[in-house]
């Protein structure tokens, strides 16, 4: 996940290590909060804070220019998933206005060994993803909404993460960029 040197592919960790640490985090939070809704919220918040920092890493690595349409943004998000999680979600279900799309995951590395118990059907196990996307895009002055439309943990065939463009944060755009 992190790099020792500045080369792109220098440091790799086993995906299972991430899966298990994330699992430990979620179970610990379930123990701490008891209320599933609170856990969802906290996971989303953690993701948001991660996204705000991760975006700099992504930009520094890829030297990506600013996106001026949602399709580019979708490609970048796809690319980010490839870099950080080595999964390639497919992009589909565009809304006619091109302001909303889905990321479809055939497999989700975070839920590799996970089965949701009966009493936790409200838990959005991977909501760290949606937080992360929201936080990262907010740093490049795009406000989006992000939620799970389908989840393999809840018996769906695929995991579908929906991203909806809300607005450009005009006043946050740095001078010389607007």
């Amino acid at each position: 996940m992190s790099r020792q040197t500045s080369r792109f592919d220098a440091k790799k960790v086993n995906a299972e290590f991430l899966t298990l640490t994330y699992g430990a985090l979620v179970t610990q939070m379930l123990r701490d909060f008891e209320n599933v809704e609170d856990v969802n919220k906290q996971l989303e918040r953690i993701g948001y804070n991660m996204g705000m920092r991760l975006i700099e890493d992504f930009l520094a690595r890829t030297q990506a220019p600013r996106c001026l349409e949602m399709r580019e943004t979708a490609d970048r998000i796809q690319q980010a998933f490839r870099i950080y999680l080595n999964v390639q979600p497919s992009i589909s279900n565009w809304s006619p206005a091109l302001d909303e799309f889905s990321l479809i995951f055939d497999s989700n590395p975070l839920t590799e060994f996970v089965e949701l118990p009966q009493d936790l059907t409200n838990l959005r196990y991977s909501s760290i993803f949606s937080g992360c996307i929201r936080g990262a895009l907010e740093m490049v002055q795009l406000e989006v909404q992000c939620w799970f439309a389908q989840d393999q943990l809840k018996g769906d065939n695929v995991t579908e993460l929906r991203v909806k463009f809300i607005r450009r944060l005009e006043d946050a755009i740095p001078a010389g960029e607007d």
């Binding site: 500045s6 920092r53 930009l59 946050a172 010389g176």
Partner: protein
């Protein structure tokens, strides 16, 4: 190639990091007889040479010590007023040490926040729409290179004149920032950067560049 300093300005325009690199501190000590043949300007904060430059003591240099006693603002370390000491004939001959003035942290913060609106003005003055802000600022003694990320953080490198594009270095510094500052869980965004790992990596990077140029950058 000489790099004088690296500055990082946050999204909101505050100086969050600065590193002085390789700026030789030039000091000159000389013995003077009465009457003093250089004109000094006595300020409450410092004593500077106002006129009559003498050998390597230039106009603008500040007084550092009198007979080895450090000068602190307008007073000597032993409490005497510099002006009274230098105007009294019985104190001569006197040894005065002058040095190039050094920016204080406050002055740096002030200048960094001055650069922020300049950058914005530059982008608005542009005859073409969608201009970037200042990327290169040249003078006869230094060149300033600025790189603004998509998130609004500015990386500024001050180097000697006549160096080509510093894009490579600025990007490397951005990578170091992404790695060693933002991945540090104890660093909160927009705050001054106090990360030793970042300092040392940056120092190494600058050393490599000063010795071998950009060729060996991908260490």
């Amino acid at each position: 190639m000489i790099i004088y300093g690296v500055y990082i300005v946050s999204k909101s325009g505050g100086l969050i990091f600065n590193l002085d690199n390789n700026v030789p501190r030039i000091e000159h000590e000389k013995s003077f007889t009465y009457p003093l043949d250089i004109v000094l300007d006595y300020d409450s904060k410092k004593v500077t040479v106002a006129f009559n430059k003498k050998e390597s003591i230039n106009v603008g240099h500040v007084l550092v010590s009198v007979n080895g006693i450090l000068v602190n603002g307008a007073t000597l370390a032993d409490g005497r007023n510099v002006k009274t000491v230098l105007e009294a004939e019985e104190n001569y001959p006197v040894n005065l040490k002058f040095a190039r003035p050094k920016m204080t942290t406050n002055e740096k913060i002030f200048l960094a926040s001055m650069f922020y609106p300049l950058f914005a003005i530059a982008s608005q003055l542009s005859p073409e729409p969608k201009s970037s802000g200042i990327e290169l600022l040249e003078s006869d003694t230094f060149t300033l290179h600025c790189f603004q990320t998509l998130t609004g953080v500015k990386f500024i490198v001050v180097s000697e004149v006549g160096l080509g594009s510093m894009d490579m270095l600025l990007r490397k510094i951005y990578e170091l920032y992404a790695d060693y500052v933002l991945k540090n869980p104890f660093y909160s965004l927009e705050m001054p950067i106090r990360c030793e790992l970042f300092d040392s990596k940056l120092q190494t990077l600058l050393e490599i560049i000063e010795k071998t140029g950009f060729n060996n950058l991908d260490k």
